[in-house]
């Protein structure tokens, strides 16, 4: 009896020291804000980049062979090579390394860490989104494309009004998953001294010298968020399956 009571008091004390004293919970709260901002913006950048890349790659795959030789064909080839290099480099190197290269080398002149983080994670995410969206574009029936062109839409208009909306709808669950992955990946933001959720927990640990509470707390917050977003994704998936197709 006495043992359990001592243990329980210990827990309470630990909780108090790690979260309540000196308002230390604010490290987690503010960190959570940074993590969410970072993830949302990075996903948006990733989707924009990804759609552009996917358009280049799928245009090349579908049309290059039949195109008339000329400036357009040459440009497409160059763009496709750039896209391929980008995809290979981004997917072939760790995101932490990319983040540090972005912060210490490419954007060394900027001291807005949040912005640098958004760009670094966005550029990283773009490579993965590109392949997701590309698979979406390639899955659309070629007849859709022909129907658009036969009405008089040019290539870009057909993509914009006919193909991309359908492709994005098809890959929406996969994109939402990318968001979940990114949410966890941003935990390395501390490498450029950003105070995200993980870093917040680590700061508390450094101050209180007790790792258990802050780290388990951080892990739980991530877990709850991931479970929540997974729930949303599943719901979305079910609704899309039931909708008009």
């Amino acid at each position: 009896m006495e043992g359990i009571q001592t243990w329980w008091e210990g827990i309470q004390q630990q909780f108090y020291i790690n979260f309540i004293q000196d308002d230390r919970w604010k490290y987690l709260w503010n960190g959570l804000g940074v993590t969410l901002q970072l993830t949302f913006c990075a996903v948006l950048i990733g989707i924009v980049l990804g759609v552009i890349l996917a358009m280049i790659r799928s245009t090349y795959d579908k049309n290059y062979q039949e195109m008339r030789p000329g400036f357009g064909r040459f440009m497409l080839k160059i763009l496709n090579i750039i896209a391929k290099i980008y995809l290979t480099v981004i997917r072939g190197t760790p995101v932490v390394v990319q983040l540090m290269i972005m912060y210490y080398i490419i954007l060394a002149s900027s001291n807005n860490k949040l912005l640098v983080g958004m760009i670094a994670f966005g550029v990283n995410s773009g490579a993965y989104v590109a392949e997701i969206v590309r698979s979406g574009i390639m899955s659309i029936d070629p007849g859709q494309f022909e129907a658009g062109r036969s009405l008089g839409f040019n290539y870009v208009q057909t993509m914009r009004y006919v193909i991309i909306p359908q492709a994005l709808k098809n890959v929406l669950p996969a994109l939402a998953n990318e968001f979940i992955v990114l949410l966890k990946e941003t935990s390395v933001a501390g490498y450029i001294a950003m105070q995200d959720l993980t870093k917040g927990g680590d700061i508390i640990r450094g101050v209180t010298y007790s790792p258990f509470m802050p780290l388990i707390g951080v892990a739980l917050i991530y877990l709850v968020m991931v479970m929540f977003f997974t729930f949303l994704v599943n719901k979305l998936e079910r609704r899309l399956r039931n909708s008009e197709r």
Partner: protein
């Protein structure tokens, strides 16, 4: 049928694959006049769909010329998108846009390409929908329609651009038999209104009844051409005779 002004002129049209190893089209010459209904028939693999798809450059010819309203559209410098706005096309598999309502399917091209206001485009779309008896489906999605309804929508979607010629690529081949009639009926109406039409089909009854001219193709060439009377009751070539023996 009125008018004898040429709308489309095809000169020595070629479509080769594998550097000439396969000749899908091997020198087609023809002229389509305003108000004409040209029905293209032939065995499968004869190149009739390829021919039709070349007319609006969905398929890029490897040789020859196509003049639409006097302009060589096979010329690299001509802007095919402008010409396509004046040529409607109906596909075997309808190809309605599944993410848009019927009305949106119909008004998007006029709005984005002809600069029409939504009200203006909707007015024309509703008029056309009434004509094919589907005005109550304006806000439905394509997946909620039957095959015959989808194809009728596909026809009026093309008509919303007020084209000068309509191209039909086997419009009834993907339909259940009981739905073929309603689609042919719409096409017949169009023909009666003097729309210029080029129709690739296996519906010999339609060809006989509606066509002003029938073109029989085999192996990428036009083997015989003439009025339905000439083609169906007086076939000259052996090729056409065997074909008709099989399909009639």
């Amino acid at each position: 049928m009125s008018g004898n002004e040429s709308l489309i002129r095809v000169e020595n049209l070629q479509k080769h694959y594998n550097k000439g190893a396969i000749k899908a089209l091997d020198g087609i010459n023809t002229e389509i006049k305003k108000g004409e209904v040209v029905v293209v028939i032939g065995p499968s693999g004869s190149g009739k769909s390829t021919f039709l798809r070349c007319l609006n450059l969905l398929e890029v010819p490897t040789g020859g010329h196509i003049y639409f309203d006097g302009v060589d559209i096979t010329d690299v410098k001509s802007d095919i998108n402008i010409h396509r706005q004046r040529m409607g096309m109906v596909f075997q598999h309808f190809n309605l846009f599944p993410h848009m309502t019927i009305l949106k399917n119909m008004i998007i091209a006029p709005m984005k390409l002809q600069g029409k206001s939504e009200a203006e485009a909707t007015e024309l779309a509703m008029k056309l929908l009434r004509r094919v008896g589907l005005e109550d489906r304006a806000n439905a999605y394509p997946s909620q329609l039957s095959g015959g309804q989808k194809q009728r929508i596909a026809i009026v979607r093309a008509l919303c651009m007020q084209p000068e010629v309509m191209l039909f690529d086997e419009p009834t081949s993907a339909l259940d038999p009981e739905m073929v009639g309603e689609v042919l009926e719409v096409m017949k109406q169009l023909a009666e209104e003097n729309m210029t039409m080029v129709v690739v089909t296996h519906e010999m009854g339609f060809a006989r009844e509606v066509a002003t001219r029938v073109m029989f193709m085999a192996d990428g060439r036009q083997v015989e051409e003439g009025t339905p009377e000439e083609i169906f009751t007086n076939p000259k070539s052996e090729r056409l005779q065997t074909f008709l023996a099989k399909v009639l």
